[in-house]
């Protein structure tokens, strides 16, 4: 559920910023415990790991004994509350863990396609396509998987093809590309870095270099390997996986989370400071990196970088975008959301909204109505007070009665447009007081 929706249902809700680094610190123990049993653990996000078990099954004598060992280790490190799913592909394995039952919850899938076929289409993870699929009568993953891949690709593009691949349980077959040169980026530090923020800053620059180098080949990594070398010679490495191509910000975030997990989590930490950092791209694909005709990738990346910096200066809630939504009041017709987050529109802007004041809209709308002074004579406004001076009213329109949400205790009000030599104002008389609700600036 989006924040706006949550606040709409429960205005008293307190929003706590998600701290991925702290989550990763807590999760590091689990990852290390699994890694002691099975190599090549791939972390997707704090709380979710994919573990390729094909080799380990033979070593431990079957899936049963292997899972028994894993359960025992996780239980020892983190206690109850974990879920396990085993399947051929990562998407099916994740869905299996979500649908797992028992104590501890666990589900072993024999046939990915058969298991996925009965799941609801909303589980496919492509929000932008789900409503279209449902409108077309495709309600389960099985129904989507039965459609020809070529047809889906021509109708829905890369996103549709990705959804089809997941629904068919073939999300592992990404056909990773091999590049003729090694694009691994690395940095050595002398003296060793002892401040985590310094390391994170360097990681950001390295991520930018990596993505820029990959972009010249039209590629993007779905997986990265983060390797850190401590001053005592210890080298620690971790693989991070993503369902979507990782951009520079996502890579930098993952490196920062991982470094903090190594420093603050279980294990020896990074003794003596960080002397080398290495980011290796893996599982490269051109998916999601095909530029549109006329698209300037460099300018777009520069824009994202600049706006991210602005967000860091002002705070996440101070860099906003807005989209139209339905409503009667001018303020209600705007759905705000943070820059970088998907828009949330709660009301249909195309629906009829009887009673709303037609355009032109005031360019300035105060977040809360401001006190406004109007002098009346015989039911007609004659002067308004702007700061310390009184200005004569030239013309006016209204009143338009606004009933308000009486069931929520809102008082009715009368809206007026007041025109003076200093401009036009939208105001409302409510509860015996006059309020400024907009300036036609």
């Amino acid at each position: 559920m989006r924040r706006g929706e949550a606040e709409g249902i429960c205005p008293q809700v307190v929003t706590v910023e998600r701290d991925h680094s702290a989550e990763m610190v807590a999760f590091e123990g689990v990852v290390t415990a699994i890694e002691d049993l099975i190599p090549n653990v791939e972390v997707v996000e704090p709380g979710l790991v994919f573990v390729p078990v094909a080799g380990a099954v033979g070593y431990y004598g079957g899936e049963g004994p292997l899972i028994e060992r894993v359960v025992k280790e996780i239980d020892r490190v983190a206690g109850a509350g974990f879920r396990i799913g085993v399947a051929e592909g990562p998407f099916a394995a994740k869905q299996a863990s979500i649908n797992a039952t028992g104590d501890p919850p666990m589900l072993l899938v024999e046939d990915d396609e058969a298991f996925l076929a009965s799941l609801d289409i909303s589980t496919v993870g492509r929000e932008e396509l789900v409503s279209t699929f449902q409108w077309l009568g495709i309600t389960t993953l099985g129904e989507l998987a039965r459609l020809p891949g070529g047809t889906i690709a021509s109708r829905f593009g890369a996103a549709g093809l990705d959804a089809h691949r997941r629904a068919s349980g073939r999300d592992r077959d990404l056909n990773p590309r091999d590049l003729p040169i090694d694009l691994t980026v690395s940095e050595r530090f002398s003296p060793p870095l002892e401040d985590l923020e310094q390391a994170a800053f360097v990681a950001r620059a390295m991520a930018g270099r990596l993505v820029e180098a990959l972009a010249s080949f039209g590629a993007a990594p779905f997986r990265i390997v983060v390797e850190a070398e401590a001053a005592d010679g210890t080298v620690r490495s971790r693989t991070w996986l993503s369902a979507d191509p990782l951009d520079d910000r996502a890579i930098a975030d993952r490196v920062r989370w991982q470094l903090r997990a190594w420093v603050d989590g279980v294990g020896a930490g990074i003794r003596g400071g960080l002397v080398a950092l290495r980011i290796e791209p893996a599982n490269l694909s051109g998916a999601g990196r095909q530029l549109a005709l006329g698209e300037d990738a460099r300018a777009a990346a520069e824009t994202v970088r600049a706006f991210t910096e602005t967000q860091a200066i002002l705070g996440r809630d101070e860099l906003l975008q807005a989209h139209p939504q339905g409503g009667r009041e001018y303020g209600d017709r705007v759905a705000w959301h943070r820059w970088g987050e998907p828009p949330v529109s709660r009301r249909d802007p195309d629906a009829p909204w009887p009673g709303r004041i037609p355009g032109p809209s005031p360019a300035l709308v105060p977040p809360a109505p401001q006190p406004f002074h109007i002098e009346w004579d015989g039911g007609m406004p004659t002067r308004v007070r702007l700061g310390s001076r009184w200005v004569t009213v030239r013309s006016w329109a209204g009143p338009w009665r606004r009933v308000g949400r009486w069931w929520k205790g809102e008082e009715p009000g009368d809206q007026y447009q007041i025109v003076t030599s200093a401009g036009a104002f939208l105001c409302e008389i409510r509860g015996g007081a006059t309020w400024l609700t907009g300036i036609y600036d």
Partner: protein, 255 residues
């Protein structure tokens, strides 16, 4: 999207031309030749390649090229926010444009009405003077154009630095001072609202529909002249320049 018609007037002459000809005056040059909106003879800003990409809805509406700084002066209510959004919309085709909202009052509805796509408008809110300068500087790095309200207490030096940064980055910057003057020499173009009038509302009947605003345009963009521009705005992405040069102030060198 834009439905603007532009004509110009010199010495009060009128001539029928185009669909709005019956209402609007036409520009004539010194030899009495009528000039079309797209004429090579330009009394306003110099024509650049960048400017040539602009939609053909008139060149009497001032335009800021890459790295140029504009100032929008005038009290709230005289239409300068809307005019700023119109100037910003010129650049929204090239990339996202940013509005730095010091008051926190900007309504994006007005921006959408002048033709800025919702996806192309980013609104930053900042009341703090120190962070204001940093925020404008970082927006100049990424936005196609920036319109920034100037808060009370902003220092001249900081405004000069931002103007230099805008020139360096090639990003058009519009400054909307709230209650102070912008230091001299910063603005390539200054637009100052003098008066405004609305039609449509009469003694409780109708509603406000159309605004006419009288602007004084000055600065390098005006080639040293101060021009009076009268603009008409009906809110539906139409902002028309209804007269061009009404009178040019005489400037002389004393010596």
């Amino acid at each position: 999207m834009f439905d603007r018609v532009c004509t110009r007037r010199i010495a009060g002459e009128r001539e029928e031309s185009g669909e709005m000809a019956s209402e609007l005056p036409v520009l004539r040059d010194e030899q009495g030749r009528a000039l079309s909106a797209g004429s090579d003879t330009d009394y306003g800003l110099r024509t650049t390649d960048y400017e040539a990409q602009r939609p053909d809805w008139g060149r009497d509406l001032p335009f800021l090229g890459p790295g140029q700084v504009g100032v929008l002066a005038g009290d709230a209510g005289l239409g300068m926010t809307r005019l700023g959004l119109v100037l910003l919309s010129d650049h929204a085709r090239a990339g996202p444009v940013a509005y730095l909202d010091v008051r926190g009052w900007l309504s994006p509805l007005a921006a959408w009405e002048v033709g800025i796509e919702p996806d192309r408008l980013v609104i930053a809110r900042c009341r703090d003077v120190i962070r204001w300068g940093k925020a404008v500087a970082s927006l100049l790095d990424g936005a196609a154009a920036v319109l920034a309200e100037v808060p009370t207490g902003a220092k001249d030096a900081s405004i000069r630095k931002l103007a230099a940064l805008a020139r360096n980055r090639g990003t058009p910057l519009l400054l909307r001072p709230l209650d102070r003057a912008v230091p001299t020499g910063v603005a390539h173009l200054t637009l100052e609202a003098r008066e405004t009038s609305w039609s449509g509302a009469v003694d409780g009947h109708g509603r406000i529909e159309r605004r006419r605003t009288l602007l004084m345009a000055s600065g390098k963009a005006m080639r040293g002249m101060t021009r009076t521009i009268e603009m008409e705005d009906d809110g539906s992405n139409t902002l028309r320049v209804v007269s061009g040069v009404a009178a040019a102030e005489t400037r002389s060198v004393a010596g």
